[in-house]
Amino acid sequence: MSSLPGIVAINTFREAVRDRVLYNLIFFALIMIGAAIIVGQISIGIERQVIVNLGLSAISIIGLIMAIFIGVGLVYKEIEKRTLYSLLSKPLPRWEFLTGKYVGLLITLTVNTFFMTLGLAAALFYVGRPFVRSDVSILVAIYFILLELALVTAFALFFSCFSSPMLSTLFTLGIYVAGVFAPDIRNLGDLTHNSAIQSGARAIYYVLPNFHNFNSIALAAHGDAIPLALLWQNTLYALLYVVLLLLASSAVFSRRNLK
């Protein structure tokens, strides 16, 4: 990875590792160990369901916390500590710097998710459940969590290009929560039988990122297959949204006066 964003990405990942960001894995490991021991004793026949549910939820929540809290500081920290001053005096365009920071955090989240997936597999192994073909849906659910994290990180990065970490956190959290309930907003509009409200609700539904579609934890927990079409749809949707957000971030950041 010798492109300019690649150089920045590697440094961002190295910073996360040295700042002990991956220590959260210990917390995840404790959850999985505790769950495996307790579930093994109190659940009969549904150990897999409980462990998968708990494991995937923990992977998602820990990932979200990391994506938001590290994401909002990606640019802000560099400006605040003035590390960006010497960096931008190098032949590095601002948009490539932003892309590098984004990719760096994405690598961190992917590595983190990989180790948590291993933890989940170990917990399933502990409760004595053999791996079966339908477990592929667990991997697909984890892939969707990664797509969701990629989108959340892009939002956090976008907001951090023009606002403080606290506001960026609030904005990103707000977008995430609204995005999770996006289909409910549309359904709420449909219930009113008022065409203006229905149009407004649909507009909001289409503008908000649809995080609801990335959640397939329940399907994976029950061992149900996840449709292939959803895999493509979610991948393209996330990719498009991330590209748009990175373009918007670059447009804002390229004009920003540093303190």
Binding site: S2, I7, N11, R14, E15, L84, L88, N257
Partner: protein, 319 residues
């Protein structure tokens, strides 16, 4: 004829101030400046004069309200041009999770050097700034002076043609300051252009081919330190002491400053010989006679004390 390394034309920067950010405060006012290739150019001015603003504008860390600038004949908006420049920010701070060697490696990667060349360059540079023994220590354990040395190293490790240094002596002890002066002189010998801001006037006087004085965002004067300080002779300083049993004239004692047994008196050039005659008559021992010329510091204070409207009148040599 040498070409301009830096050309600044009408560079202006306004900052919004106040709660509603509707009022504007001018930080830099129509700066026109040209720095030739191979020059060491000093950028002087008190705090808040606009020195750092100018450097940030040249680095595109902030954007001008009006005006343009070119470095090595290319627009400052052209990031490819940044291969040929180096920049030390004021009070630099770097990624503290990295060691000095890792930081320099990170930065030189942007210049596209292969790994082996990077390794050699970095080792040489760390040696040059006196950080070889701390090369593999994380920067979070570095003192302010050590960070300043790392900052200088990262500004020149990729062999830039033009080097911008914002207060390069800041935070350094006398040995460090001398080393930085040597580095700046070495860069000049290699044909590099050095543009540095400072408030340490003796450094500027010692190093610079030309200096510019900035005050309240306005350029107050540009010229060679030699030209500036040799314009006029202020007077003559005589250092003397009395011999035992031979009292000194009362009027001289009253005008002189006494340190131990020695007296120092500053007289106008026209009064030199009459004063020496008085001292000869009382058999005083003359220790030294030297002319008093204005220093760059005097020039600096004269410029910054003048009202804004009068600044054009004191320019010595505007290129």
């Amino acid at each position: 004829m040498s070409t301009a390394a830096i050309e600044i034309v009408g560079l202006t920067k306004d900052y919004p101030v106040g709660f509603w950010r509707k009022r504007m405060r001018r930080s830099l006012d129509s700066l026109n400046l040209q720095v030739e290739e191979g020059e060491i150019f000093g950028f002087l001015g008190p705090n808040g004069a606009g020195k750092t603003t100018t450097l940030k504008l040249l680095m595109r860390l902030i954007f001008p309200t009006a005006g343009t600038a070119r470095i090595l004949g290319r627009s400052i908006g052209d990031t490819r041009m940044h291969r040929d420049i180096g920049y030390l920010p004021e009070q630099p701070y770097f990624y503290d999770h990295l060691t000095a060697r890792e930081l320099l490696d990170y930065y030189t990667r942007f210049s596209g050097y292969p790994a082996a060349e990077r390794r050699d360059r970095i080792a040489r540079m760390l040696e040059r700034v006196g950080l070889s023994s701390a090369a593999d220590v994380q920067l979070r354990k570095f003192s302010k002076g050590m960070l300043q040395r790392v900052g200088i190293a990262q500004a020149i490790v990729h062999d830039p043609k033009v080097v911008f240094l914002d207060e390069p002596m800041s935070g350094l002890d006398p040995i460090g300051r001398r080393e930085v002066r040597d580095i700046i002189l070495d860069l000049k010998q290699q044909g590099r252009t050095v543009f540095f801001s400072t408030h340490i006037l003796s450094d500027a006087e010692m190093l610079c081919d030309r200096v510019a004085v900035l005050h309240l965002g306005q350029l107050r004067g540009v010229g060679a330190p030699g030209e500036i300080v040799s314009i006029e002779v202020h007077g003559v300083e005589i250092l003397f002491e009395s011999r035992e049993g031979r009292p000194l004239p009362l009027d001289l004692i009253q005008r002189a400053t006494r340190t131990g047994q020695r007296y120092r008196i500053e007289v106008p050039e026209a009064e030199l010989y009459p004063t020496l005659g008085q001292l000869r008559d009382c058999d005083a021992r003359i220790l030294s006679v030297s002319t008093v010329r204005p220093t760059l510091e005097d020039y600096f204070f004269r410029l910054v004390d003048r009202p804004k409207e009068a600044h054009a009148a004191v320019e010595v040599n505007v290129p």
